[in-house]
Amino acid sequence: MHMQLEIKGLTNIYKTGEGIRNIHLQVKKGELLTLLGPSGCGKTTILRSVGGFVTPQEGQIIIDNEDISKYSPEKRPTAMVFQSYNLWPHMDIYNNLAFSMKLKKMKKEAINERVQWALKLVHLDGMEKKFPSELSGGQQQRIALARALLLDPQVLLLDEPFSALDAKLRHELREQLREIQAIQKLTMIFVTHDQEEALAISDRIAVMNKGKIEQLDAPKEIYNSPKTYFVANFIGKMNFIELQAQDGIVQLGNSSFEVADVGNSKVQTAIRLEDIEITDVDPDVNGIIKKIMMLGHYAEVTIQTEFGLLKTFIEKRKLETLSVEQHVGVCIKAARFYGNNELKSNIKRSSTHVKEFEAAY
């Protein structure tokens, strides 16, 4: 398989001890890879190393079979969209877009044509006479994207490009970015700390923590089987219960789970909110409803149990039968067990158990 971008053994450690350690990554042509992680996890360092704005202490960056590690940013076949302050305020939109082509001494007609093409692509035709300060934040980021696309990059680098925008706009731009990527068959690295954004737009996600990649997988895999405790904690909402295993058996209320390779150690049990159901028949755990929070077409219900607070999602139509301080039973449909930050078992309960519950409702 031909790789558009290869990162080999990239290491760059700052004086503070933060940084990246021995990073290996491969990005296919036309793929959108997201680097996801909390601030300080090194995701931006990787991105900036590829762009040439950080000189890593060790490692190679190979784009299209060419080692570009030693090139300065202006010589690299990459283009970057920054979080903010992308545009040059003293130039109008036309000149912002045309800057790179003017440096290349392209013909005026050709520049015009390319600028029009780029503006159309980001749905901002007719804006060329305006100045950046006359544009909204979202429009500015779209112009920045257009300018990056005009560089014909082999790899497009996006450094949290939508994080300064409000939620609605962020959603719109996400979709637009995906559309443009599909049309242009772009290879992209996208950096974000927003797990929802990462799940929504990526082909693959690299979840990072403390300068290392914890898991590199498709969004679905990352969500369904987080390989480490950190990833489970970072991606999506989770209930965590710390339990003591006995001879490989973890007891949770009325149910016991057979967990591989834990012996008699402590185990972190992670349960997705949607994997907890409220039931009267044969519950695993009993509790009292403490809080009901409406979140649109579903609600988040918090239940006090002997294992602490458990949260679950409930469909709106089922809400009417529930009220605060009501005693309820809880059934756990699936759980993941982590020992020593590693996934030990990912257990799905038999469908009969769930069917029984569905029927009883």
Binding site: G51, G52, F53, S72, P73, E74, T78, A79, M80, F82, Q83, S84, Y85, N86, L87, W88, P89, H90, F99, S100, L103, K104, A144, R147, A148, L151
Partner: protein, 273 residues
Amino acid sequence: MWYFKALPRGKIIEFFIVAVFCLFFFGPLLNLVLLAFSGEWRYPSKLPSSWSLDWWKYVFGNDQIVHSILLSFSIATIVTIVSIIICIPAAYAFARLQFPLRRVFLFSFLLTNAFPKMGLYVAVGVMFYKFGLMNTFVGVVLIHVINTLMYMTWIPSAAFKNVQKSQEEAARDSGASPLRVFWHITLPIAAPGIIVASIFTFLSSLDEAQGTLLVGIPDFQTMPVIMYSIIADYPANAGAVFSIILTLPTIVLLLAARKFLGSDAIAGGFQMK
């Protein structure tokens, strides 16, 4: 009177306060203008009894004075250019580079303004004697530049700081070498601050009298220096004419540059960061 009737009561008090302020502020200027264009004006009459341009003719007919005007403007121009050449790189360094004692250096530019001017000039004068710079054009320019270092470093430095790193990096990304980035991106974005600082420099050089008096006498008498002798030797009318000539460039330049003269551009220049 209709105007006052239309005003709410609270506003009438405001109106008078503003009126008193205007009188206080513009009164002396008005007096100056009247004086400059009056022929005969004796106490206690409120207005001159005759108007004339005699004092203007005198000022522009006097070779020494005309020469001083030309000298002042050429010195101010050269001082501004020299100051830009010396200070802009320094300002950029203060804004972008981290080096030891950076803040101490930045602060030291304030010191020339902290001492009593005459004391500083006497000390400088002793050095100038040794180097043979007394009564030379270069000497006068140098003494003016000393005064302008602070404006020319602090304000552009703040302007350079306002140029975001990502704006420079985006230009690198677009294929521009570091030098081109500075020329096409950094300098134009910082230009308003640099223009403001240049205007301050030009005006302060035009206004400088003490240092010039000490270093430039007798051959380099600029406008403010000549003004001392005119005020001492001639009627007030000549002084008034001269003040107007001296004030005019200030007003013209400030009007021309008011686009750039935001309070933030000036205030931004005086932050220690």
